[in-house]
Symmetry: C2
Subunit: 459 residues, 2 copies
């Protein structure tokens, strides 16, 4: 292993290996605004926050707890009001009301933002009802939904349309885009530090979908059509991150989807087999290859279900090769959006390197010309599960309060696309849905598909 | 990095990590027969051996020099007889004759085996002439040709047919099959040490075909149709090795072939750019994915041209994942057949492990049941360029003299297929040619192709 230098320990060596000028790039840092804004906090209503279980209590709740001057939970809805009341008591949500119906919740004037963190299979019904019932809500402005935004492209399109007609600012939790590693990689790429990308390889290991299933694990994640599987979740998040980092959608794609493990063995919490086999209909492997629109770059992906291996390779590896250098992202789990990663960068310093953010390079360009540069970027104690969601809320806050004082800040983000600023919207989700739909179509037809139009905003 | 144990330093630890029972598997070792056989050596005629340049002097010559009791060079042919005479003098080939014409060479009664090591683009013409002129040669029995056996499937088929009609024992230098690493991996797989294979990823980096071209480098390797390129050579050798290790051909394949670098920059021997651009028509990238016939195993491959990266990944990585363990092969160059590799194995010992070669396991099966096993296999001073060719000659010798005293040794190997014994033949070459042809066809048609019939022996 060659010389690796921690970013947090900026060092320079005279033997030809030293750290580049990362200090002048800062997108990978969190927002610096933690002070109380002059105006009132954004009032948040949750569908799916339960103090005792589920995704929201582990991620959204701690994420916005750290942003208490910008966000305030004011409303909860769950099909059983007792759950909402218990959650309010347990979390001491002094400003929150438990609503008995989705209708009363959606029309409440105490809500600026609604966050939906429920099973994907319920997205369509709940969101369409929400959008209907909130028609005359004067304050409701932000609608934040967990990926995958419903179970199919059709459903996602309907939801997108209904939200667009209402003029809502939508947010989708493709939170990998807020990962500091992804943003650092995107910075290095966009500022030319690896030159032109010419090859990308990805191998991911989706923990479940293997030979064994924990008996406690919910059945729906093993059943096709519920919007949570190796293709929609593991591949979906990862390929969205890849497109975001490289600032390019795909032009052509080909995919093969496998269900080689149609039956799983139930295991208890200690890993003991219980002697019972249960059917699995979701895929356990995806082979995907294609070309990026920018530069016709070949991309090779293999997403595998089953037990993590962790012996000779990490469960997530993204290799990005360029004409001037390489980037490698590694993670212990094949879920880039919720994993703490390690980013490796290697490149060659050149005279004609772009100066970041228009500033002069920290090191004189004549001095380090042609020298090898290396960097390892890793935040040892970063909690990616909460952290990436936290940064997503920060970006909503940055937009709402215009904390960065951007003079031409748009009144609405239709889509984030590949911008550093902003956050992914339902349009970004829709584009990803189209790619996923094309994965299944390519698999079924056995054909390479031209997907260069899927990023067009029109429906 | 977990505990790694060198095979040559067999050690056992009581903490649950120890070496399995590799001593009872020995296919990865070379033949032990180095003594003078009772009968006469195999008399070898070379087309393409030149004492001062080329492939044969670097590989075939040193390889058979170590087998001087089994092989004797008795004939040389080259278009200019002076070259042959000079080679005989320089190498002190006391028993060799320089022939003035291919006809006199091919019909010489002093030749048992002809080895053809010339440019692939000349294979067809030379081999067809050889096969014609040697019709009445009483002793000519072995025909050994360098991969790729001509430039196209059509040519390869014609050569195969002509050789089969003559009843010759053919040998093709798909010498990766003789690499001790490949044989060790094949042993581990075939004896169940990684269970059922469920996923394979390959990334290779073919050194040339990149942005720069050494000015001294011969032009023909950058021109399409000469049988030496990223697909025929880099991919060809590697995928042959993969099929051989896993004992499976492919059922379905899909490929995308790229020429993203249609012009290269000429460089001198010091790497300085000479300011001259030259056209390149051979591919610089191949994306290949498919499924193995055995077990519908997903295989993902990315073969890249250009400069070796060597920073965060090796230039050749083959990851084979199974239900009980993993294998990883790594090499510094993307040419598995001529590289010294490192083989990593990790698995789980179980009671029901097959005992190798019918012998009892070295360690009591009760003792190590369920324990984790790891192994690193690397022969530090192994010269793979010569070594794999050397082992190929050994296997010809083993066959010719039946040194292993196999009672039912066939009088001819039509194909090696996936046997440990023997050597790859023109039929093995033909099957590989069919796969390569399907790669280009899949790329052109944009379709997944069913290739499950290409291993059938019929033409």
């Amino acid at each position: 292993m060659p010389l690796l230098v921690l970013l947090t320990n900026l060092q320079r060596s005279t033997v030809g290996l030293f750290v580049s000028t990362p200090l002048i790039m800062d997108y990978s840092k969190g927002s610096s605004v933690f002070t109380v804004p002059k105006t009132a906090p954004i009032r948040v209503g949750f569908v799916g926050l339960n103090a005792t279980k589920g995704w929201a209590i582990k991620t959204h709740y701690p994420a916005i707890l750290q942003l208490s001057s910008q966000f305030q939970i004011t409303a909860l809805y769950s099909p059983e009001i007792e759950t909402s009341i218990a959650t309010i008591q347990r979390l001491k949500l002094g400003n929150a009301t438990a609503f008995p119906t989705l209708k009363s919740f959606a029309s409440s004037a105490t809500v600026d933002m609604i966050v939906v963190t429920i099973q994907v299979s319920s997205h369509y019904e709940v969101l369409m009802s929400l959008l209907k019932y909130s028609q005359s809500n004067p304050n409701f402005k932000y609608l934040f939904v967990e990926w995958a935004l419903a179970c199919s492209l059709d459903q996602a399109e309907s939801i997108y349309k209904a939200a667009a007609e209402r003029g809502l600012q939508t947010i989708i939790s493709l939170q990998g885009r807020k990962s500091p590693y992804i943003l650092r990689a995107k910075e290095l790429i966009s500022q030319g530090y690896i030159g032109d990308i010419n090859s990308i390889e990805i191998a991911g290991n989706g923990g479940w979908y293997g030979y064994e299933r924990p008996a406690k694990s919910p059945k729906y994640i093993y059943e096709m059509g519920n919007g949570v599987d190796l293709v929609s979740t593991t591949f979906g998040h990862t390929i969205d991150i890849l497109q975001y980092m490289t600032s390019s959608y795909f032009s052509r794609i080909h995919a093969m989807v496998f269900n080689n493990i149609p039956e799983q063995e139930l295991i208890d919490e200690y890993g003991n087999r219980l002697g019972q086999r249960v059917p699995k209909t979701v895929p356990d492997h995806l082979l995907f290859q294609g070309t990026l629109l920018n530069g016709n770059v070949p991309v090779s992906c293999s997403f595998k279900g089953g037990k993590p291996t962790k012996k000779f390779t990490k469960n997530l590896v993204i290799d990005i090769h360029g004409t001037k250098g390489d980037l490698k992202l590694e993670g212990d789990a094949g879920f880039a959006e919720i994993s703490n990663l390690v980013l490796y960068y290697s490149g060659m310093s050149e005279n004609d390197f772009p100066s970041a953010n228009g500033q002069q390079p920290r090191v004189g360009s004549g001095y380090d010309a042609g020298k090898e540069i290396m960097e390892v970027y890793h935040l040892r104690s970063y909690n990616a599960v909460i952290g990436n969601i936290h940064r997503l809320y920060q970006s909503i806050s940055d937009f709402h309060y215009n904390t960065k004082k951007i003079s031409a800040l748009p009144s609405q983000f239709v889509m984030q696309g590949f911008d550093f600023e902003g956050f992914p919207t339902f349009m970004d989700a829709l584009i990803l849905h189209r790619l996923i739909e094309s994965v299944y179509r390519s698999n079924m037809m056995g054909s390479t598909l031209n997907v260069s139009n899927i990023s067009h905003c029109s429906l």
